[in-house]
Subunit: 239 residues, 2 copies
Amino acid sequence: MIESLLLNLQRHDVLTDEERETLKAILHRGRRFSAAEDIVSEGSRPGYSSLLIDGFAARYKLTAEGTRQITAIHIAGDFVDLHAFLLKTMDHGVIALSNCQIALAEHPDLKLITERQPHLARMLWLDTLVHGSIHRAWIVAMGRRSKVSHLAHIICELYVRLTAVRRTHERSFYLPLSQGEMADVLGLSLVHMNRVIQALRREGLISWINQTITVLDWEGLVEMAEFDPTYLSLRVEPR
Amino acid sequence: MIESLLLNLQRHDVLTDEERETLKAILHRGRRFSAAEDIVSEGSRPGYSSLLIDGFAARYKLTAEGTRQITAIHIAGDFVDLHAFLLKTMDHGVIALSNCQIALAEHPDLKLITERQPHLARMLWLDTLVHGSIHRAWIVAMGRRSKVSHLAHIICELYVRLTAVRRTHERSFYLPLSQGEMADVLGLSLVHMNRVIQALRREGLISWINQTITVLDWEGLVEMAEFDPTYLSLRVEPR
DNA sequence: CGCGCAATTGAGTCGACTCAACGTTGGTGG
DNA sequence: CCACCAACGTTGAGTCGACTCAATTGCGCG
């Protein structure tokens, strides 16, 4: 059930059997959520953190005028709110982008890990740090890349992350985001989002049909995005 | 010497005497850096993390065309690269924006903290999480706010963070960023950055003279920015 | 006093927005 | 089985924000 979490963490360092057992022991089956349901709401103070077992979710914030900005896309194996363990109060909401299955880790159990299994605790800390790296990559893409390049970057990143948890097939992956939702990722209007997607298609870099993205030209996409996966820390080494 | 770090951490939870002593013991005096010097370079694998004792620094990434995006502004009391403790490889550079004084924490010492002082380890983890929250706030500002509102948000954030480490005086604070550097924060051209700053002045919200920003109308600035400091976790509670 | 860097202003261009309409598709109920 | 609806995707037209290029001003330091 938590295989994708293990795949996720073990991209960075090896886990002992004991550590794997601990994770299995503390993660209990949680609820299912339907697409568009809030998994965690902004301002709440959850007593547990949610691991996404299956499906897609997003962190988001709303502005006063009612626009939305998505700050992270989550896939199977991601803790969507591990940071709430120490931040306590959620500074953003988390919404299901598809039907989602969630497992829960109670915060007292996480605290015990920090007290008894320092290496595992560092691996969880690392998980939050990698999401911080992703945030930084997004900031750069938003501030200094063209919108086409920004979209290419997001697709490259999702392709790599989904491959790590075995959610890609050949050069394709399922992505249940509407163009309007993707516009909330890039900070664009829906209309312009559509035109940016068409630009990537016109270049022959991707196809995007029926919620399925196929990378037609990986090299070209990487170049367009200036994608360098260093920031994802995909290297097994002692942490 | 590390007073500002203590002020920083103690905004979130109380530290014991022992924890304070540990921090004092592991932080040894490091180098000084002049403005525009690289404190940490992208791609490096430092064996220590750098605490900013005094001065201003920024995390940044360069794009292939040579443009720069600043992803974080650091002030006294900030660890500029605590995440390198676990990420190992720097995904970005850190540059001094003014003359800076740095203290160093060796990674083996930090590892010992995770093994022996779990609460202190959580406080350090929390410090990296707060910077993640700041990243998210920046993403929202970049994606869904007007440029004037974005600048107002950054000024509000800096004002609050600088106040916590006693670097504000009345309603003013020193900020040694040129308009060109600030443009790299907002992802704007230098010319347009200038016009955005003038807009904030024209509204009577701030003055910005001689590297000194004075908040003339805090309420108005907060409203313009839609600033809500929740994301800074400024609340003392058990972590 | 003059050099160099930062700040400012003007003008023309292009990217991204809004408003508006139309096409496509999958699901639902008569 | 088909008609209809709702949501999503696509296209066009006009406007405004942000860009680039270019020139000018202001100021601190040698």
